[in-house]
């Protein structure tokens, strides 16, 4: 039913608010049927990017296309996109049914009531909120509210979906359930989605590609795997992974063989090996997470996190040795840009990094 090529394209788009540049020269293509997640901290320009795509803001420079049509200056109603807001997502004076029927009753669609009812029921079934259709939208739990908000976007069958941290107000358990469901629905429908979040877990699990935003700039875009294993910079490396990547001066843990110009070396906690030789370290904290254990150590004046299996028991104060899995180190220069580690065989990563921007 939707248009043939439902893609969203930003071309050198910039949006300023006074002296703040909220979105800085963004170029990004969300392909037909693709799920792109923009990941960034609060204030990175995520919401502004979505608002530009929806027509709620007009860019200072650059162009935006949806499904092949230049919509840079088109009003929201003329764009074939649906928006799921971070909060205040449902009209409080309407029932669930009326909320979901609202876009279909708009002057630009004006479906007849029989068709609306069939469509709303179909989507309600998909989202498992059929039983709630006659509830007032304020008489729902947080999870149900966001389901309805997603449903209101789905009924229209738009060219693209824009989602602004739709799960961030939910508790952890619900967030997980809805995340899985959202991905299932997106795959079933082949929907084009531009989704923003500050939650790396959501980004990793939902995205076909992740774009990392920092201060309005798209720092890197690629598959979750690429972003995780070949981050373009220290900033990107720190955004993904829990606990955070260990950043050490070159030479620590015996890692002296970095490429020329390297000042910092990054080691993921899961790549740190304990008790099999290497530098001497003392355990200063142990956190049991169930299946895994996080161990904080001090070695040669550096703090090092290690993520180990639950079997490897350690005690605070214990002396051990620490080294890293060979070939897993990431080297960064003085400016925080990643350098190719000569000894490793990740030669094609920089090319992938440029892809898609």
């Amino acid at each position: 039913m939707g248009p043939a090529v439902a893609e969203i394209v930003f071309e050198n788009t910039t949006k300023r608010f006074g002296s703040i540049t909220a979105v800085d020269n963004l170029s990004l293509t969300v392909g037909d049927g693709e799920f792109v997640v923009l990941l960034g901290p609060t204030g990175a320009g995520k919401t502004t990017t979505l608002r530009l795509a929806a027509g709620l803001e007009v860019p200072n420079t650059g162009r935006i296309r949806v499904a092949g049509v230049d919509v840079t200056r088109a009003p929201p109603a003329e764009r074939d996109v649906a928006f799921v807001f971070q909060q205040y997502s449902l009209y409080p004076h309407y029932t669930v049914y009326e909320n979901m029927a609202f876009p279909l009753r708009s002057p630009s669609r004006r479906w007849d009531e029989a068709r609306i009812e069939a469509r709303v029921r179909e989507i309600a079934r998909l989202l498992r909120i059929e039983a709630k259709l006659s509830n007032l939208s304020t008489a729902l739990s947080g999870g149900e509210m966001q389901r309805v908000a997603i449903g209101r976007a789905l009924v229209r069958d738009p060219a693209a979906f824009l989602m602004d941290e739709p799960l961030s107000s939910l508790d952890a358990r619900l967030r997980e359930d809805l995340r899985v469901e959202l991905k299932r629905i997106q795959e079933d429908l082949g929907a084009t989605v531009l989704y923003v979040t500050h939650d790396q877990m959501e980004a990793m699990t939902l995205a076909d590609r992740i774009g990392v935003l920092a201060e309005g700039r798209l720092v890197q875009i690629g598959t979750p795997r690429q972003i995780y294993s070949a981050p373009a910079s220290v900033h990107v490396a720190m955004r993904l992974g829990s606990p955070r990547i260990n950043l050490l001066p070159v030479g620590a843990l015996g890692l002296a063989d970095g490429p020329a110009g390297a000042t910092t070396v990054g080691v993921r906690p899961e790549d740190v090996i304990l008790g099999r030789g290497g530098a001497v370290a003392r355990v200063i904290a142990v956190e049991h997470l169930g299946a895994e254990t996080v161990i904080l150590m001090e070695s040669e004046g550096n703090k090092v996190h290690a993520l180990v299996g639950a079997g490897a028991m350690r005690h605070v104060g214990e002396e051990t040795t620490v080294q890293m899995l060979p070939g897993t180190a990431l080297f960064f220069d003085r400016d925080g840009q990643r350098l190719d580690a000569a000894p490793t065989s990740d030669a094609k990563k920089p090319a992938e990094r440029a892809h898609g921007t």
Binding site: A54, G55, A77, F85, Q87, S89, Y91, P103
Partner: protein, 316 residues
């Protein structure tokens, strides 16, 4: 003592609640007494109304209401005796006082004026106030703060302080003693209150709802109509009641600017006293009827009003 142990620490104790209830009931009684007295006086005969000590138990009579709605003239006993028997219960009531009905009084007409002017100006003030408040709330208006202050400053003196210029202006414009003139005047006084109250309410409605409607395919105007207005109705109801109460009760301007044509009930009711002695029951009957529309309107909008007046505190 088990009851005390189960209540939340934030709840007042049972005795505290009883004391608070007692205070509220006492206060309600004190404020109700004059109203009850007026209501009762309207149902007394003139002698009962001025009896001393005051009569609490009395034979109810509709004489006050009959006198309110009729013009009467006093006749000699000979003339009264020559009349054919009375044709209606109110004829009979009037004749007991040696009077005959000569026609309807002007009360109904004045009452109608009050309704036209009161509700007309309330509608206009709330209508203009809603649009202005929406504009101030949602758009970048140059000099917004100054304009809002200016709008409020029109209420910093009692409106009657500008009675003379308004009187002269109205005479020059031919607005004196017209319905339109009174509607414009009360609208002008009320609109500043309406803008300020409604801006507060509209500010509290998140922009996201309208934006969602825009993305859902509606124009700004339709979004205002379908999404903002329904959520602002609590505020609109509260504002409308405040505006209506002012316009309905206003006395000074009505006395000054109206006489024959557009006179409202407040300057008319005291005049009743003059027509044939101190007719307190008629005055009380007029006052009772005068109170009814406000009571009715307030009860009608009650559930909005309670949330509206305490706005900010208990939204959602």
């Amino acid at each position: 003592m088990s009851a005390a142990s189960t209540r939340s620490v934030l709840e007042p104790s049972p005795w505290g609640q009883r004391f608070a209830a007692l205070l509220v009931i006492l206060y309600a009684l004190i404020t109700m007494i004059p109203l009850v007295w007026i209501g009762l006086t309207g149902l007394k005969t003139p002698p009962d109304a001025i009896a001393y000590p005051p009569k609490v138990v009395f034979d109810p009579s509709l004489e006050g209401y009959v006198n309110l709605f009729t013009a009467r003239s006093r006749q000699t006993p000979e003339y009264m005796a020559s009349l054919p028997p009375p044709t209606s219960w109110y004829d009979e009531l009037v004749r007991k006082r040696n009077m005959v009905i000569t026609g309807p009084s002007r009360f109904a007409e004045r009452y109608m004026n009050s309704i036209i002017i009161g509700f007309g100006s309330t509608f206009l003030a709330v209508f203009l106030g809603t649009i202005a408040a929406y504009g101030f709330s949602r758009f970048k208006v140059p000099l917004k703060d100054d304009l809002l202050f200016f709008i409020l400053s029109t209420r910093m003196m009692p409106p009657i302080a500008v009675a003379v210029p308004i009187f002269l202006m109205y005479r020059a414009l031919g607005l004196s003693d017209t319905h339109l003139g009174m509607i414009i005047l009360y609208t002008m006084v009320n609109v500043s209150l309406a803008v300020w109250l409604l801006k507060g309410f509209i500010d509290e409605i998140p922009m996201e709802y309208e934006e969602a409607a825009l993305v859902d395919g509606y124009s700004r105007m339709q979004a205002f109509w379908k999404v903002v207005l329904p959520q602002a109705k609590t505020g609109i109801a509260a504002t409308a009641i405040f505006c209506l109460i002012f316009a309905w009760n206003e006395y000074a301007f009505a006395l000054l600017l109206t006489s024959g044509n557009a006179q409202t009930a407040p300057p008319f009711i005291p005049i009743i006293i003059g027509e044939g002695g101190l007719d307190w029951p008629a005055v009380a009957a007029g006052t009772t009827l005068f109170l009814l529309p406000i009571v009715f309107f307030t009860v009608l909008l009650r559930q909005h009003l309670l949330r509206g007046i305490t706005f900010g505190a208990v939204r959602k």
